[in-house]
Structure formats: structure tokens, C-alpha cells
């Protein structure tokens, strides 16, 4: 693997890992400034109500309280107006978000007021002194009911905030050709990101009057949102991103940054705001829950003929990214299969529940649970081996998807599925009440943003006078090694050692805009931008060396701070025929040719979608793979023990093998949690799972060793043929586990997570039949 590269594809350890094991990293919450205030947010305890009276007098009067703000103190009290992805079909959006609720609250936990005080104890005491009176309004919590005409309206006069559909072929003809049809309904839950680091940041006004916000940000471009709320030019707000203690989409939407900007602006003092774990639990967005209805048909020799899917997602009380997530679900709804006749109808609906938005997997994993459950049941009906059945239908390079997008990279699905299954090894036996079963699932997930968003990323690369290099890129480091990947790419291209390259990232006024660390786009976009910039710098050096020695630049090579004049770089006879890089740089400098480059990488552009019918390419490319599980189910209690687990993906080309495997293992773990145990519960809009003893995520005791199989087709659109892996790694986990449970006990779970209680009830239902 990767023999052709010195650095790319190896196991790379960066400087930040060392500081992480030493406890040296200054995370968002670890930062303090002289005279800093501490902030807290006052939040709604009603899901749907009018605010009849809000009295801040007593809170303001408390000794040590410096600043108390409500909606009337906010210059522009609207945030997150970005609703790209909204179709014109369902009317223009009226679900404008409020920074602080003014007259009405629409979900439990909505922010109403902000307090900043000399210390946290005082800020908390001040929250207790805020007086509020509500008048309850009708509320609706079920998205299926909320679609109906008579339902209480959350905003405007239509709760359906997004609608997408796909039409391919003739669905009725397709089902008529089918020998077997499986038709079932599925449900997926809200999921909490549960990153271990809470949302946090510090803000201050600098000596140029710029509002600085240093916080755990997946999207540093939110400086624009803060500027809009404060009524300042964009250039007066600066976001300095931190090393992030986990995000998974949880730090993608607006969290603390606008509150921090407001409080620093109004108080003139530095301010720190860190959400409590409970606040993360009940006030910050979740993965949207889905209702999915699937009908899939196949011929008796195992060819898929038709698939119809109806999807409804719960957007919660405000529009964040649920319309985008719904596009992902719609496009990915078929799974990685060629199906000649397809019909998909999808809605996202407002309710008085907590708002939903980005979470790793972003619409792709909810449908994966349904389509892979369907594939498993179809194979059973056909009495075919589930892998052989899938092999007859896998998408491959050159095939067209249901939205008429041609797959232009390799899709190593047969290899991934076979290797994932093989990695499980010998099968366990089980006992009378402990049944052992195996299952697997395949999936696809796009990497890179939707192409109609015209995504770009910039990177700046130079060579210093001593031959070392500096890279500047706005991309935040989410813990996935985003900075290290840029370092590796530039070191590889400029022939340097890793520690001769320094990466400066994630500062909106220092680093060239590189876009978000979301949508599995960081390596694809910023990696390509860094590659382009490094290649430009190499060209400057080789052109200069060429002029210095009169040899064509294509005959020159750059390695180990030397420009070699011969093909055989290592030969001792050629040692004399080389120029030192430093010599060349000095020569460049003498002539004013600075070895530096600012490069822009542009993703393929497509026209914006203008109707709710998706019939054109939406994504640049996809990552394909499979996951496999062996479970033991206790038929007396319904408890599931995961015995073995494997995950196999074609990631195109590993840049840092440690980080690829890390993404694959961590994605699997989070997907297993989604499939087996993570259940975010709300009752009548009141969240009940606020902290980590109520909302259970996998611990070391819940997971087996996860085997990873890394395939490299080198066919991706990223640097060196890489594909993205962050989100694809999560998508196939839940159906793999659910298919294994089906194999073990003969009962299928249609509503994840498959808790012991759900399995027990399903087993009881089967016995009673």
C-alpha cells in the first residue's frame, strides 16, 4: 500500500497528539482573559407558549451581575436565515430563527435571555431572579400529524418546510415485474452528538474594535452570522477556532458564538460561555428522527426491479439544516444499488420538538437502516445468500443513480462486503437462551457538499528562507487530523519532512477561507487546495532551478531540501549535480519571485435545484463500504451483546492510515450506539434525557474490538485519489447490527435503537402469534 509515497498513506502522528496526551491543548473552555465575565443562558421551560411578561430587574440588580440581555437588546434578532435547500414548492420560509425569543417560545429550551457576571455562581443566581410568565399555546409533537391541514402551526401557515422527490422509470411496471416484494415501515430516533467537550468559547473586543470569538467551531464562517446580528460589517467580527473536543455536526450550527458576540459587545468585557451538559442535552439540535416507508421488489433471480420510499423527518421548531438533510436522504434512498424504477417522496415537518440539524451521516444513515433491512428481507424471501443477492444489484462505476448521476469513481462494494464478513472470523455457538447471529450492511455516502452550493476552499503555502514551509488554511481541526493531513500533503509534494511544515488553521482573519469541517469535505476540499498551492510552489522552485542550471524543469526533482538534476536521485555519482533548496529560494528572493501560492480548489458546480424534483447530479462523488456484526441475543431478556464487528471501506487513498482507521472505528461505534442504545426521549416536547446517565452512549464494555479493512482504489476526487471517510464510516452500522439480530432470533426490529425492551416485546409478539 502506498509504496510510491514517502509520507502519504503512512501512520502519521502529529504534534497535537503529543500535546493531547500531555493535557497541554488549550481547548475552548481552558482559555481565560483578564477581567473575563462568565455567562449563562436563560431558557424556556415551555414547548409552545406566549411570553406574557419578562422581568429582568431583580437579575440586573444582583451584585456582580454586569450584563443581562433579552430580545429587545439584540440589534438584529434573527439568525440562521440560510435556508438554501428550501423548495419553492412548499412556499417561502417563514421559520426565521430568533437569537433570543421575543414574544413566543416554540420549544423547551429555547433561549430567552443572557446573563454575564463576575463569576459563574453569580450568573447562575441571576438566572433564578429572572421573572417570566407564559400563556400556553396549542402544540404539536408528531411530525405525521403536524403535516395535516388542521394542525397547530409553528410558523406561518404550513408546517411542511421541505419537500423533495425522485421519479425514475415506471414504478408500477417495476413492481409488476417483481416476483417478490417487501413493504415495511421503519423509524429512527433523535440522536445526541454527545461529544465529550461541551460547546464553549471566549469573546473579547480587541484594540481595533474587532469582536473576537475563540470557540469550538466546525464553521468559522459564522463570524458573518455574528456580524449580522450585531449590525457590524463582517470585517469587524473574527472567529478563532480551537482544537475541537469532538463535534460530529453538533458544533456545526450556531451554538455559543452569537451569545458571546452580543455579551462582549454590550458589556465591553471579555466573556466566557460554556454550555452545561444538561444544556447540550435539551437546548442544542439533534439528529432528525425519521419515519420511513419502503416498498422494494425483485425478480426471482435476484434483480431489483423497483423501489418506492416515503420519508418524513421531524425538523423541530426551527429550520436549521433539515431541508438539506432531507435532500441527502432522498438521493441516498436507494442505497448503493442500481434500480431501474424508483419513486421517492420526502417531507421535513416543523413541530414543537427540539430543533434538528446536522449529525454525522446527515440523512444518509437514516435511509441506510431502511434500505439494508429491506435488502436482507428480500434475500430471505428469495432464499438467496444476502451477499450474492446484493452483488447482482451493486452500483458500479459508469452506472446511473436514481437522480441520473453517473458514478465516476470505483465502487468496491463486493470487495468491501466480502472482506468485512471475512474479518469476523469463525462464528460463535451460543446456547439455549443466548442466540448468536450475523449480519452485514452496505452503504454509500457522498463526500463534499451539494454541488449547487458552489463549494470552494483556499490554501496558502510558502517556502521560508531555510526551506521549511508554512501552510495557511481556514479549515478547523475536528479531531480527525485535518491539520495533519494538510501537513502530510504539502510535505509530500515539497519533498520535506513533516516537522518542516507548519500548518496555521481556523482563524477567519488570518487564514484563507477554506469552508466548513462538515459534509466529509475537509480532506477533499482543503486537501486539494493545499495540494494545488504546494504544486505551484514546487513549480516556482523548479522553474528557478531550471533557469539557474539550464536543465528543463521536468527533469528536476525536489526532495530532502535538494533539487536533483538527474533521474537517479540516490546515486552517489549524481551527488555533485544538485542544488540546495535554500540556494534556489535565495535566488528566487533576489529576483522578487517569492515561493508562495494562494490556491483555490473548486468543487464541480451544478445549477441550483429549482423544483422539488431531483433529476440531476447533486454530489461530486460517493464513498462505498460495508460493515458486519456478530451478536448474541438473550431471548429471555432481549439484551444484545455485540461479539464481533468489522468495517470495510474504499477510501480511495489513505493520507494518514491512523486517522482513516480512527474514523472507521469511531463511526462504527457511533452507528452501533444509534442502532442499539442511544435513545433521545421527549414527552410532549419535554426532553427527558439530559445527561449521560439517561442518554446512553457506548462505553468500552459495550463494544468488541472493531476490525478495519482499508481498501484503496485511488479513484476518488480528493488529493492523491482520496475519498472522504468521516461520515461514510457511520452509515452501515445500524442495519448491520439489526440484520445480525434478525439472523439470531428470527425477529426484525423496525424501530431503532434495538433496546432490550424493544427486542423483548418483539420476541413476545412472535411467540404469541
Amino acid at each position: 500500500m502506498s509504496e510510491q509515497y514517502r509520507i502519504i498513506g503512512k501512520r502519521i502522528g502529529g504534534l497535537d497528539e503529543k500535546d493531547k496526551v500531555l493535557g497541554n491543548v488549550i481547548f475552548a473552555e481552558d482559555y481565560t482573559l483578564p477581567g473575563m465575565l462568565h455567562a449563562r443562558v436563560f431558557r424556556s421551560t415551555r414547548a409552545s407558549a406566549l411570553i406574557k411578561r419578562l422581568d429582568l430587574t431583580r437579575a440586573k440588580a444582583l451584585d456582580g451581575v454586569v450584563c443581562v440581555l433579552s430580545a429587545e437588546d439584540v440589534p438584529n434578532n434573527e439568525s440562521v436565515k440560510n435556508v438554501v435547500g428550501q423548495t419553492t414548492e412548499v412556499g417561502l420560509l417563514e421559520a426565521t430563527n430568533q437569537v433570543l425569543a421575543r414574544d413566543r417560545v416554540r420549544f423547551y429550551g429555547e433561549a430567552i435571555a443572557l446573563v454575564a457576571a463576575e463569576n459563574l455562581d453569580i450568573a447562575e443566581e441571576a438566572l433564578e431572579l429572572i421573572e417570566i410568565e407564559y400563556e400556553d399555546l396549542p402544540a404539536i409533537f408528531d411530525p405525521l400529524e403536524a403535516r395535516k391541514p388542521g394542525a397547530p402551526k409553528i410558523h406561518g401557515d404550513n408546517n411542511i418546510i421541505s419537500a423533495w422527490k425522485i421519479r425514475k422509470g415506471d414504478i408500477e411496471k417495476g413492481f409488476a415485474q417483481a416476483d417478490v416484494i417487501v413493504e415495511k415501515s421503519y423509524r429512527t430516533p433523535r440522536q445526541e452528538h454527545a461529544h465529550i467537550e461541551p460547546e464553549s468559547g471566549v469573546s473579547w473586543i480587541d484594540d481595533m474594535g474587532v469582536v473576537n470569538i475563540r470557540y469550538a467551531a466546525q464553521v468559522i464562517e459564522h463570524y458573518r452570522d455574528v456580524a449580522a446580528v450585531l449590525g457590524l460589517p463582517d470585517s469587524r467580527v473574527r472567529v478563532i477556532g480551537t482544537i475541537i473536543g469532538g463535534g460530529f455536526g453538533g458544533k456545526e450550527d450556531i451554538t455559543v458564538e452569537i451569545f458571546l458576540g452580543l455579551l462582549a459587545w454590550k458589556s465591553g468585557r471579555p466573556v466566557k460561555l460554556t454550555y452545561t451538559r444538561e444544556e447540550m442535552g435539551f437546548a442544542r439540535h439533534k439528529r432528525p428522527p425519521y419515519y420511513l416507508h419502503y416498498k422494494t421488489g425483485a425478480t426471482k433471480d435476484g434483480k431489483l426491479t423497483a423501489m418506492e420510499a416515503k420519508l418524513v423527518s421531524d425538523a423541530g421548531a426551527y429550520v436549521y439544516l433539515s431541508p438539506w438533510i432531507l435532500i441527502y436522504s432522498t438521493v441516498h434512498a436507494t442505497g448503493p444499488y442500481f434500480i431501474p424504477n424508483v419513486k421517492v417522496d420526502a417531507n421535513s415537518v416543523l413541530t414543537n420538538n427540539i430543533m434538528t440539524s446536522a449529525f454525522r451521516g446527515f440523512g444518509g444513515m437514516e435511509v441506510a437502516f431502511a434500505y439494508e433491512s429491506q435488502m436482507d428481507e428480500l434475500a430471505r424471501k428469495l432464499t438467496m445468500d444476502p451477499l450474492e443477492f446484493r452483488k447482482k444489484n451493486f452500483l458500479k462505476k459508469g452506472d446511473e443513480t436514481a437522480n441520473f448521476q453517473t458514478i465516476t469513481s470505483e465502487a468496491l462494494l463486493p470487495e468491501a462486503a466480502s472482506k468485512a464478513l471475512a474479518a469476523l472470523g469463525g462464528k460463535g455457538k451460543g446456547s439455549k437462551h443466548k442466540k448468536v447471529g450475523r449480519g452485514f450492511a452496505c452503504s454509500w455516502q457522498s463526500y463534499g457538499r451539494m454541488t449547487y452550493l458552489h463549494d470552494t476552499s483556499n490554501a496558502w503555502v510558502n517556502l521560508e528562507m531555510d526551506g521549511s514551509s508554512v501552510v495557511r488554511s481556514g479549515i478547523p481541526d475536528l479531531g480527525g487530523g485535518q491539520r495533519e493531513s494538510l501537513r502530510a500533503i504539502v510535505a509530500e509534494i515539497l519533498g520535506l519532512k513533516l516537522d518542516e511544515v507548519h500548518v496555521i488553521s481556523t482563524d477567519s482573519q488570518v487564514t484563507p477561507p477554506a469552508g466548513t469541517v462538515t459534509a466529509t469535505r475537509a480532506l477533499y476540499m482543503s486537501g486539494n487546495a493545499a495540494r494545488l498551492a504546494a504544486e505551484n510552489v514546487r513549480k516556482i522552485i523548479l522553474d528557478q532551478a531550471s533557469a539557474m542550471v539550464g536543465v528543463a524543469p521536468e527533469k528536476l526533482k525536489l526532495k530532502s531540501k535538494q533539487v536533483y538534476l538527474a533521474e537517479n536521485q540516490a546515486g552517489p555519482e549524481n551527488q555533485a549535480k544538485k542544488l540546495s533548496l535554500v540556494e534556489v529560494i535565495k535566488s528566487c528572493a533576489a529576483q522578487g519571485k517569492i515561493p508562495q501560492s494562494l490556491a483555490t480548489f473548486k468543487a464541480p458546480f451544478t445549477e441550483p435545484i429549482t423544483t422539488d424534483l431531483i433529476r440531476d447530479p447533486v454530489f461530486a462523488d460517493f464513498t462505498f463500504g460495508a460493515q458486519a456484526a456478530e451478536v448474541e441475543v438473550d431471548t429471555e431478556t432481549g439484551e444484545v451483546k455485540l461479539l464481533k464487528y468489522s468495517t470495510a471501506y474504499d477510501i480511495g487513498q489513505a493520507i494518514n492510515l491512523n486517522r482513516v482507521e480512527g474514523q472507521m472505528e469511531g463511526g462504527a461505534a457511533q452507528g452501533i450506539g444509534f442502532g442499539l442504545m442511544e435513545d433521545y426521549i421527549e414527552e410532549e416536547g419535554i426532553p427527558l434525557t439530559w445527561n449521560l446517565h439517561e442518554y446512553l452512549v457506548p462505553t468500552s464494555k459495550d463494544l468488541p474490538d472493531i476490525e478495519t479493512v482499508v481498501l484503496e482504489s485511488r479513484s476518488g476526487k480528493g488529493p492523491f485519489g482520496a475519498k472522504g471517510i468521516g461520515e461514510p464510516a457511520i452509515t452501515a452500522a445500524a442495519p448491520a447490527v439489526i440484520n445480525a439480530i434478525r439472523d439470531a432470533i428470527g425477529v426484525r426490529i423496525y424501530h431503532v435503537p434495538a433496546t432490550a425492551e424493544r427486542i423483548f416485546r418483539a420476541l413476545k409478539g412472535k411467540r404469541e402469534k
Binding site: R6, K10, R11, I12, G13, G14, L15, E17, K18, D19, K20, V21, L22, G23, N24, I26, F27, D30, D63, G64, D121, I122, H193, A194, H195, I196, E197, P198, I244, G245, G246, F248, T276, R277, G479, G480, G481, A488, K497, L498, D499, L657, N658, R659, E661, G662, E665, G666, A668, A669, Q670, N691, L692, H693, P698, T699, S700, K701, D705, I706
Partner: protein, 187 residues
Amino acid sequence: MDVICAGKRSITLKINGRERSLEVRPNEILLNMLRERFNLMGSKYGCGIGECGACTVLLNGRAVLSCQILAISVAGQEITTIEGISRGASHSSHAGTAPAGTLHPAGTLHPAGTLHPLQAAFIEEGAVQCGFCTPGMIISAKALLDKNPDPNNEQIKEAIRGNMCRCTGYTNIISAVKSAAKRMLKE
């Protein structure tokens, strides 16, 4: 302010091998004391109720949750944080790359005597991603290895069950603890 500050008590305790005396409020949490009074920022707030393990420190060699302990209650005792387990490590040693499986052999990229073997193993085995749970995780692993120098997989899982990691899936963390145990047995 006066109310909150009332009833301060003087305590003396050992933190990372050094004797310290200070006045603490009766309601002062050990985690906050370490972070705010001694700038020991490696121990983290993750949940505040003892569920996530990010605040784990050693109390007389035993792994405890510092967000659940009052500072006043550890008077006269010995606390070790992540900052106290390395052997004089600094920013000066640089990381790099090596062929698969041989990353950072101890004594080359990280000069011998800087990182604790657990810290070195966490880097080598790819057990660190975002790094937020890492200090607490390493402290729990150290408490295990100090008691049981040659643990099996199940014993490692048991020792870190209270330390949540949302990035890794634990596989590489368990490998790192095993690898560190091997190295420490040889030393």
C-alpha cells in the same frame, strides 16, 4: 460575593508531588480547584455528574472523578493529574512519520524519559483523536497498570468503562494500554 466566599478553610495537600497550601470554599469542587487555582487544565469538565470520566485524577493512586469531590475533603492527601505523570516532557521533541506499525518508537521521535509509556502508546496506537477524553482515559489506565501490570482485554475495558470516548470506538485505546503494559514490564 461575601456569602459565596464565607467559611473558607485552609488545606494542605500534595498535587503532582508538590506540597500545596491554600484556602478553599466549602463548596469548591476539586476539578475547579485544580483548573482555576493551579492552572492544571488537563482535567476536563464534560458532564459535571461523574458520568463521562473526563475529569478523572488519581487520589492516593486511585482513579476518581474530580467533578464529584469537594476540594476540602482531600486535605492531607495526594492528587496526581495528567500533568503529573509525564517525565519532564516538553514541546521541544517533534513528531514525524515512520513506516506502518513502527510509528514513534520510544527513544527516537519522543526522546526517552519524556512521555509516560501510556502517553507514548496512545500516540503510537492512534488512540487519540479529538483528545478531550484522553487525559482522563490515561489516568484511569495508569491506575489500572499500577495495580495490575499485565491486564487482559476485559480488565482494561473494566478499568476505562467510566471514561467515555465519542471518537475512537475504544479499540485503539485498549491496544495502547496493552502496549504500554508490555513496555513497562520490560523496563
